[in-house]
């Protein structure tokens, strides 16, 4: 490729498991001797692709990743936790080096893995702009030149002479992104920094990233928000267990990723012997059932939850089943009790199925963890916190806002005027 700006060749990264700082000197020495004699490090996997992520005391976070990025591309990295996204970002931003492989890049690279790293609490906002800029490799004159812009972008003109320690976290984020947004790198690497700050500021950040992208620069962007990835990136790479699962147009990659993600986790079953619960009652299955052929859940869809219960001893109406819905960030979105809706009814022994429907236009886009609890005479008996997880998608986008809506829920609210 003529205009390749990033070239990643068979990159692998190994981490040690467990307590890291208890290195054995003997281990180090034997590895060094092996290298001196021109042999392979005995701790390395011998030749060929690494078959498993876990090998002895080591964990392969990346197991052979290769791709090229052309100038001007905006690449989104998606994948579940532990897929290797953060490791890849750390390698691209040179915080750590690969165990095997090579990454070559052209031009100035700057990375924004965490907003406001390197802020010194005792120094004022202004002094921190210089410190932060210098850490990211900016020259003093360059900062002098862009100072007004940076301050204006951050929107904290009035507090620029105040020590950072008196800033709210939102103000720190504003200042950090303001510096980073004015770095003018050829390659910008951005981790999930937009998850913080208020909506107005997020819009500003996303807007400034789009400006960077439109000026022909290259961006690599990681986010758990599929909406952000979809609206910003023209190409996406799906990482799965340290390997590239799919590389292509953003829309297709995200669709496939979400489909698989939900298929993996949106139902769970147990045999009668293993049914979790109490001596009296056990859980046989929890399933989220999609209205769609591809199994996806859209915001505009009803989500049917099917719970199968094994009743061993209860014959009266004292048992209640509760549904708990949490966001991926562990915010309790809501709970719903069976008896509050359909009232008490006596139970028969054996298997029985309960169904509940989460209304359409209630959940936001993003991941939800659905839990099930048994209550007996109003007291908690048993709770399964994360029985299943579902990923709710935006579906058809309407309106003018291209970033994830804030909030644990996103009900359709009737407005009149």
């Amino acid at each position: 490729m003529e205009n390749t700006i990033i070239k990643v060749e068979d990159v692998r990264k190994r981490y040690r498991l467990g307590v890291i700082d208890r290195t054995l000197i003997a281990d180090e020495v034997s590895a060094m001797m092996a290298r001196l004699r021109g042999r392979k490090d005995p701790r390395m996997a011998l030749g060929g692709p690494v078959e498993h992520q876990r090998m002895g005391d080591y964990f392969w976070s990346l197991r052979g990743v290769s791709f090229n990025v052309a100038q001007g591309e905006v690449l989104g990295l998606v994948g579940r936790n532990g897929a290797g996204k953060s490791t890849l970002l750390k390698l691209l931003s040179r915080i750590t080096l690969p165990t095997v492989g090579r990454i070559s890049m052209r031009g100035k690279v700057s990375s924004l893995l965490e907003v406001g790293t390197g802020f010194h609490p005792e120094l004022t906002g202004l002094e921190n702009i210089y410190l932060n800029g210098a850490i990211m490799g900016m020259r003093r004159q360059e900062i002098d030149r862009k100072l007004d812009e940076i301050v204006a972008f951050s929107g904290i003109e009035h507090h620029i002479g105040t020590p950072i320690k008196r800033y709210s976290s939102g103000m720190k984020v504003r200042l950090g992104f303001a510096v980073a947004a004015h770095l003018d790198p050829e390659i910008l690497i951005v981790d999930e920094v937009l998850a913080v700050g208020d909506a107005e500021f997020q819009r500003k950040c996303l807007g400034s990233m789009r400006t960077v992208a439109d000026s022909g620069r290259t961006i690599i962007f990681v986010s758990h928000s599929m909406v952000s990835v979809q609206s910003l990136c023209n190409r996406a790479i799906w990482l799965d267990k340290g390997l590239i699962r799919q590389d292509g147009a953003t829309g297709q990659v995200i669709r496939d990723y979400l489909t698989e993600y939900s298929a993996q986790t949106h139902e769970q079953e147990w045999s009668e012997d293993e049914a979790p619960g109490t001596d009296e009652v056990g859980l046989l299955s929890v399933k989220a059932i999609s209205e769609r052929e591809d199994g996806a859940f859209w915001i505009s869809d009803k989500i049917k939850i099917e719970i199968e219960v094994l009743n061993r001893t209860i014959t009266n109406d004292d048992l209640n089943v509760r549904l708990q819905v949490r966001t991926n960030n562990d915010v309790l979105a809501f709970v719903s009790d069976m008896v509050e809706t359909i009232g008490h009814a006596s139970w028969s022994l054996g298997r029985s199925k309960i169904t509940c429907v989460i209304p359409a236009d209630l959940l936001n886009d993003g991941g939800y963890r659905i839990g099930v609890a048994f209550l007996h005479q109003g007291r908690h008996w048993y709770t399964m916190e994360d029985a299943i997880t579902i990923e709710v998608q935006e579906g058809a986008r309407t309106g003018t806002w291209f970033h994830k809506w804030q909030g644990a829920l996103r009900p359709k609210v009737d407005w009149t005027r």
Partner: protein, 287 residues
């Protein structure tokens, strides 16, 4: 693929084995503003919450010398070669404090800046270099305070203090000492990321090294050819401490020993850079 590699000029190449001797000086130079800011930050941070502020820079070695003068001069009656004890000890305590501070502080730079280094890339060597420079600032303040006190001795007629042409050796001694301490400092810094125990050992090691050097006694007090003399001369700081006394108090210089220290300093710098460069690539994974 090779053909392509030749055609495209890559600016940044990230790969497992980056040779230790390839210190990217151009990159270090590019980050000189950061270096300067870190030095400033170091200097401001240390004295921000103290009442006496920078005065501590001067008081610290003075009090130490006073203590030595009372304990070793007055009570143990050790030889001070006919020089006022205060000047005799101060001439050694000032460079020793510098040496010990550089090692102590640079050896902490990786751990102290861990949060920063695991989030953003900059040439890691900037941190220990900044620490060394900020320590150097205190050293010069202390050196000036020595000269002031020596001048007071002379003006009051208490001691006929003079300096001769060997004063030209002063920059050489300072550079030598800085290189030596910096080399040992980054070596320890690199090793402590893997073996935390080293940090605790260091305090004792430096203290031991001080007693093995002529800080509290003149080298001439130790009989030549004795085992003790051999041990003391093995210490690379011995010639530097003696050198400082020679220059600052007008005593004869031992050139041979200085040559040994020069070689030692070079080796320590090389070893320090080698290990530091090796560790910095995996450093973010270890902390």
């Amino acid at each position: 693929m090779d053909q392509e590699r030749r055609r495209i000029q890559w600016d940044v190449v990230v790969q497992p084995h980056q040779p230790w001797w390839r210190v990217d000086f151009g990159e270090l130079f590019h980050f000189r503003d950061l270096l300067w800011l870190l030095v400033r930050r170091d200097l401001l941070a240390v004295y921000k919450q103290t009442v006496l502020g920078p005065l501590w820079q001067v008081l610290q070695p003075l009090l130490t010398s006073l203590m030595f003068a009372v304990i070793f001069g007055l009570m143990a009656r050790m030889s001070v070669q006919g020089i006022p004890p205060m000047l005799f000890y101060l001439a050694a305590v000032v460079p020793w404090t510098f040496f010990a501070n550089i090692i102590n502080r640079t050896s902490q730079t990786l751990v102290w800046n861990a949060a920063l280094m695991s989030k953003v890339y900059f040439p890691r060597l900037v941190a220990p270099i900044a620490t060394t420079l900020s320590t150097m600032v205190s050293f010069f303040i202390q050196l000036a305070s020595f000269l002031l006190i020596a001048l007071i001795y002379r003006l009051s007629g208490a001691y006929a203090w003079t300096m001769d042409a060997t004063v030209l050796m002063l920059p050489v001694l300072i550079i030598l000492m800085t290189v030596l301490a910096f080399g040992i400092g980054i070596l320890v810094a690199a090793l402590t990321t893997k073996f935390r125990d080293l940090g605790f050992l260091l305090t004792f090691g430096i203290q031991l090294l001080m007693y093995m050097s002529p800080v509290i006694f003149p080298l001439s007090m130790v009989p030549p050819g004795s085992k003790l003399r051999w041990v003391i001369e093995f210490n690379p700081m011995t010639s530097i401490i003696e050198g400082f006394r020679s220059v600052l108090l007008g005593l004869p210089m031992d050139w041979g020993l200085l040559l040994y220290t020069t070689a030692f300093a070079m080796v320590s710098l090389m070893a320090g850079l080698a290990v530091f460069q090796r560790v910095q690539r995996s450093f973010a994974d270890v902390i």
